[in-house]
């Protein structure tokens, strides 16, 4: 049942904790392997990204300009981190509605530390992220202690965190931030690549290593796949859940701080009412990327590609002058289409015994 400690390499790119399907007679042939690869989430996403890139490049002249690519990479950097922040909680079989709220709280704390307390920017970032970890851990502790579903706990804390933040800041923003910090979000490497994107990719690598190679990561996957079995095999599921919520808090905080560095100001309304504007991007990335909502499976690459696809579509549609308001409808339709395609893909794979 448990292959937590087994050292066999994962078969597909996704990290999963499920029984390997019994070896089938045809599995040595190329056919099923290829079908499985072609039907994997990551491959599908990559194909869609290439397809839409070509369409947008042909349809709009500005799409391939270096500024547009730079802006897209920078937006993608933030969206991917928001997706990661939700992914690490979904892995545990829960969800975290307060990502947006935590993100804004951390961003405001960072702004306060840098502007009012006069702390150097790197200490400000560290301090704000520690706050993010603490807020996230608080979510986790409440979920573990009460035994209630993370949905209702984080729904309540989303309101509480945002309320406390807006009370403390009196809805004011911090606009006089250290220039080197603001510069970081505006810098261009080779005229195209934003340093924020590089930070995001590094975090992606770290998360990959975390889920594949570290004990804590494997424990988190095990706890998400089957909490009872994990508990019986000696994993402290409680601690694992608190850990993943703390991690989610840190990641949400990173996304918030990235936005601050990009806009050059910490603004309380940057994630909408109660941080609700982050909810859709937070779920789009992981769900498109094939992270199971029931837990136990995470795909860092999938989430990254999913969030990138979302950013690509948003940018492309805006350049096609679809109108910012209709883009939201399109993203909703995309999420709906994604879960439906995923469902039929799973049914197909199960019917042909490929999973």
């Amino acid at each position: 049942m448990n292959n937590v400690s087994s050292t066999q390499p994962p078969t597909s790119d996704a990290m999963r904790l499920e029984d390997e399907s019994p070896p089938r007679t045809g599995s040595s042939r190329l056919g099923p392997q290829l079908t499985r690869l072609l039907l994997s989430n990551e491959f599908g996403l990559l194909a869609l990204i290439i397809l839409f890139s070509v369409i947008f490049a042909l349809a709009t002249p500005g799409f391939t300009s270096s500024f547009s690519l730079f802006a897209m990479g920078r937006t993608a950097a933030v969206n991917i981190i928001i997706g990661f922040s939700m992914m690490v909680v979904i892995v545990s079989g829960g969800l975290n509605l307060s990502v947006g709220s935590i993100g804004v709280c951390v961003a405001m704390a960072g702004g306060w530390l840098m502007q009012v307390a006069g702390v150097p920017w790197y200490l400000g970032v560290v301090g704000a992220l520690v706050l993010g970890a603490m807020i996230g851990a608080l979510n986790g502790i409440m979920i573990v202690k009460t035994g209630l579903h993370s949905f209702i706990i984080t729904l309540a804390t989303m309101s509480i965190f945002f309320g406390v933040m807006i009370f403390l800041t009196q809805a004011g923003s911090f606009r006089e931030l250290p220039p080197e910090y603001v510069q970081f979000g505006r810098m261009k490497i080779n005229g195209v690549v934003s340093p924020l994107l590089i930070v995001t990719l590094l975090i992606g690598v770290v998360l990959s290593v975390f889920f594949r190679l570290t004990t804590s990561g494997r424990r988190l996957l095990a706890a998400g796949a089957n909490p009872d079995a994990a508990e019986l095999s000696g994993i402290r599921v409680d601690r694992t859940i608190i850990l993943c919520h703390a991690l989610s808090g840190v990641l949400a905080g990173i996304a918030g701080l990235m936005l601050v560095s990009r806009t050059g100001a910490a603004i309380p309304s940057m994630a909408g009412q109660l941080g609700q504007d982050w909810l859709l991007p937070a779920f789009l990335g992981p769900v498109l990327g094939g992270t199971l909502l029931t837990g136990g499976r995470a795909s860092v690459l999938g989430t990254l590609l999913g969030a990138f696809l979302v950013t690509l579509l948003t940018t492309g549609l805006l350049l096609l002058q679809v109108g910012a308001f209709w883009v939201q409808t399109c993203l909703g339709l995309l999420l709906l289409a994604a879960v439906l395609i995923d469902l039929s893909r799973r049914t197909y794979l199960a019917r042909h015994n490929l999973i």
Partner: protein, 327 residues
């Protein structure tokens, strides 16, 4: 006698009722203007709309799901209602009927996707939330409809008997209908049965799919009704209507003893939950507490209520165990 008392103590609405009475007594002792006709009218206006919002979520909680798109449906119906009247000059009763059909359809679509695909309602309604909100903003381009007929404005802001506003009427009717539906009609019993144990409900011959779709359609209809009532109250077809409904829609049913896993809700409890939230919000204003803290209080209320419900559940399970041991 003692058993009767025990039954009251264990019912969902008893605790919230005590709190409501105590709160009213305490607040009016500190601040007599709390019970002035004007203040009562303001309270009732808030309660009337918020109760419908809470019912809209409550019906979905009853089947053990959640509906994140309550606010988006409310907003879409609100702008449809005012748009029909302003752009197409449709008389208001017809416009209201058409707008309510929009809400019903939106809810029906939610239910159809949830029931047919088996994907969690959370994801489906998150997707439709953004679709409906996008439609709303795409149509209005974020500008409100201003030309609301005088009759509608009057209905939203006048009383039919002092100090009862007209808007209380639909709420009273809906409250009664929902109570009758959930306690007396087969559909309502099916909804609760599906929420309690979907598998058992299916085995006993209930069509789970139909029940889920019905519940979502009712939810959409109620969200739409709340949207229309808000248009009448605000005298303007605001596209932002519904943006802040999410927390409230969960708070009131949970305070009223609803179990989030489904199968157990209370119409009276939910109504009292709305009353408690309204009183607390007013008290914060009366005592000059920072309005920003209302969000914090709402969040804490949810935590407190779900904690309490959990405690009751554990206690009930324990007493069941004792009964089992005795037998």
């Amino acid at each position: 006698m003692k058993r009767q008392l025990n039954r009251y103590l264990q019912s969902d609405w008893f605790g919230p009722l005590l709190i409501t009475i105590a709160a009213i007594a305490l607040v009016s002792w500190f601040n007599p203007s709390f019970l002035s006709p004007f203040n009562i009218q303001i309270l009732l206006l808030a309660i009337a709309v918020n109760a419908i919002i809470a019912y809209s979520q409550m019906v979905i909680i009853a089947i053990g799901q959640m509906n994140l798109s309550v606010g988006a449906i409310g907003g879409l119906v609100a702008i449809s209602f005012s748009g029909f009247m302003e752009v197409w000059s449709i008389p208001w009763p017809v416009a209201a009927f058409m707008a309510l059909s929009v809400g019903l359809t939106a809810g029906y679509i939610n239910g159809l996707f949830v029931a047919m695909t088996g994907i969690s309602a959370f994801i489906i309604t998150l997707a439709t939330l953004s679709i409906y909100k996008g439609l709303n903003l795409g149509i209005t381009e974020a500008t409100p409809f201003y030309k609301i007929p005088e009759t509608v404005k009057a209905l939203g802001n006048s009383n039919f008997i002092e100090p009862l506003p007209w808007l209380v009427l639909p709420t009273i009717i809906v409250t009664f209908c929902l109570w009758y539906l959930l306690n007396r009609l087969p559909v309502g019993r099916f909804i609760l049965a599906v929420g309690g144990n979907e598998h058992a409900a299916e085995l006993s011959g209930i069509s789970v799919r139909k029940t889920i779709i019905t519940a979502h359609a009712i939810s959409g209809f109620l969200a739409g009704l709340a949207g229309i009532m808000l248009v009448a109250r605000l005298q303007i077809g605001q596209p932002t209507i519904g943006d802040d409904w999410l927390i409230l829609s969960f708070a009131a049913p949970v305070i009223g003893g609803a179990v989030l896993t489904g199968g157990h809700i209370s119409v009276a409890g939910t109504l009292l939950g709305v009353v408690i939230v309204a009183i607390i919000t007013q008290v914060l204003v009366l005592f000059n507490v920072d309005p920003f803290l209302v969000q914090v209080v709402l969040g804490l209320l949810i935590l407190w209520a779900v904690g309490l419900n959990k405690l009751r559940e554990v206690r009930a399970a324990r007493s069941m165990d004792e009964l089992g041991a005795g037998a």
